[in-house]
Amino acid sequence: MKRGQFLESTVVGFARALSRALMSEEIAHQPGLLQSLDPRVRVIGLFALVLAVTLSRKLAVVLVLFLAAVMIAAFSKVSIGTLAKRVWLVVLAFTGVIALPAIFITPGNPIAIFAGGSLRITAQGVTTAVLLLARVETAVTFTTLLILCTPWAHVLKALRSFRLPQEAIAMLAMTHRYIFLLIETAGQMLESRQSRTVGRLPGREQRRMTARTAGVLLSKSIDLSNDVYLAMQSRGFRREVRILSDFRMRSWDYVGLLAFLCAGSIAVWMGR
């Protein structure tokens, strides 16, 4: 590996994560179909559709759900280009590679024979590979729509209203906040090291350097947790996590919830 290449790829990964988070916040605050619904409805509705996709055994039903996801995205001001780049191509590359050999090695009725019979494509193989790919594409699209159209704070409030333990919600909120701080800190450490690296580093030195950076980050994290603890103490934390929940269901939200649940139920029934 060339000098600093591993540093660059890590720093690029950090920058990508930050930019994706920023993009989510921007889209979440635009006016659109999903954005107009109560966050609890979005969470329940999109989870229900993910479940419906997972339960459906028929390719046609999964494809209809995929079309529904594209329409929801269009009405929610989520560009198809964003979905294609962020979800569809990534899933195609990852799941496609995994699914491809299934076409050849799944036992079943042969539909094409190559190399004198040693290589054959089976109907069952094609069906399972396409079904897997379609199902993953559709489910990940629904999940991404939830992420893109709902600010993280609203997701947490929605989860809290589903009676998840307060401690878990508090930890999710705190972790999310400090992820960005630590990403920035780690990025700065790696960038400063990268700027001082001119020669080619031996592999052992690269590993040592990465471990040291991670070690310093760990020490800083522990110090940070102490500071947070002291801040909580100074503000009179009494072992209770209170999250303001100012969500109010309107008639439009009930319509949305009903639509999601009906669509999910019909998909499950049709795809059984």
Partner: protein, 358 residues
């Protein structure tokens, strides 16, 4: 290893959610025994740290790179309960905020990596490092092995989950409805990647972090070391004091150097030509000589005056007291060796820096 939605059947997802809930319940109950206000920020910030560590592109032997899970260092520093919660939180944020790993499969991912990974990492680390001191190199090896085993155990469980899908969930024509590969394909496919890359990445980062903590912050290794806190503090304190103790020992030895003048006779083999000629200790010389003769060898006679020591007989010419001369020689000798050592160290550091900046 982050299983996306669609790979596992709803029944498998539900079962693994149940397993994950059980693990979370026990872990949460366990950490609640400790002061909750202390645990919440610690686990949260550690989860954030694990999340960031998972993003590190780690150089591996062979020139490739890999990503670690961060589960082993979490288990070593926080213990199994804290690690289960911290890694589960990190995985939840990956799924719910970054879309990495599915929502229906979040229970499976947490079960595999957070629960199985943490328990295997913690158990193997404790087993291998048992009885060793905090600063022991065995702990570094234990962290590496624990990391390797944890990553592979999580991969093994995930492979089993994949491998049972076509057997349990297929249609009437035999078409697999979820992950299409049976165990005989899923197991080697998952494990080859993890035995070679992911396991190695986890081993490297865990060992590196334990080595770093041993040097920089050994108290963080205390909670899972099985060593009482007082002993760790004592060890750390002793380690911090050790250079001072060394200096005291060197000073004491220097002060004791005049004891040499009490010794009778001559140090064996340190004879001068005049001593060989008969003024020294004849019995010793006679015993050492190849030929029993008191004649000074010609070569020795010729080379004897090649170099004159600055402090002949351990005392400069102007010092009249033999004891003070010994002491002065000791101070000079120690100072000279320290200067040489510092110069050599500076030269090596400069050479190393030049090599990396070239």
């Amino acid at each position: 290893m982050h299983i996306p939605d669609g790979y596992l059947s709803p029944a498998t997802c539900a079962t693994l959610y149940a397993g994950a809930f059980a693990g979370w319940y026990v872990a949460l109950k366990s950490v609640k025994r400790v002061l909750l206000s202390r645990v919440v920020p610690l686990i949260s910030v550690f989860a954030a740290f694990a999340f960031v560590v998972m993003m590190f592109n780690l150089p591996l032997p062979g020139g490739t790179t890999g990503h670690a899970l961060g589960v082993t260092i979490a288990a070593i520093v926080l213990g199994p309960s804290g690690a289960i919660l911290a890694i589960s939180i990190a995985l939840s944020i990956q799924a719910l905020f970054f879309g990495d790993g599915g929502i229906s499969t979040l229970g499976a991912n947490c079960f595999n990596m957070a629960i199985v990974g943490s328990l295997v990492a913690y158990g193997s680390y404790r087993l291998i490092a048992a009885g060793s001191s905090i600063a022991s190199k065995r702990r570094i090896a234990a962290a590496a092995i624990a990391g390797y085993l944890a990553a592979n155990a999580a991969a093994l469980v995930a492979a089993i989950e994949f491998g049972i899908q076509p057997v349990l969930f297929h249609d009437a024509a035999g078409t697999p409805l979820y992950a299409p590969y049976a165990l005989r394909v899923a197991l080697p496919a998952m494990l080859i990647g993890h035995l070679t890359f992911a396991g190695l990445a986890e081993a490297v980062i865990s060992a590196g972090l334990v080595a770093y903590l041993q040097a920089a912050d050994p108290t963080l290794l205390q909670s899972t070391s099985g060593i009482p806190e007082a002993d760790v503090t004592a060890t750390v304190g002793a380690a911090a004091r050790s250079p001072r103790r060394l200096w005291v020992a060197v000073a004491l030895l220097m002060l004791l150097t005049p004891l040499g003048i009490l010794a009778a006779g001559k140090a064996w083999g340190e004879w001068s030509p005049s001593e060989l000629a008969g003024a020294g200790s004849p019995s010793q010389i006679a015993a050492a000589a190849v030929t029993p003769t008191a004649i000074t060898p010609a070569g020795m006679q010729r080379l004897a005056n090649l170099w004159t020591a600055p402090f002949p007989a351990y005392a400069p010419a102007f010092v009249k007291s033999a004891a003070f001369g010994y002491l002065l020689s000791a101070i000079f000798g120690v100072g000279f060796l320290l200067s040489l050592s510092l110069l050599a160290q500076r030269y090596l550091e400069r050479r190393r820096a030049t090599r990396y900046s070239a």
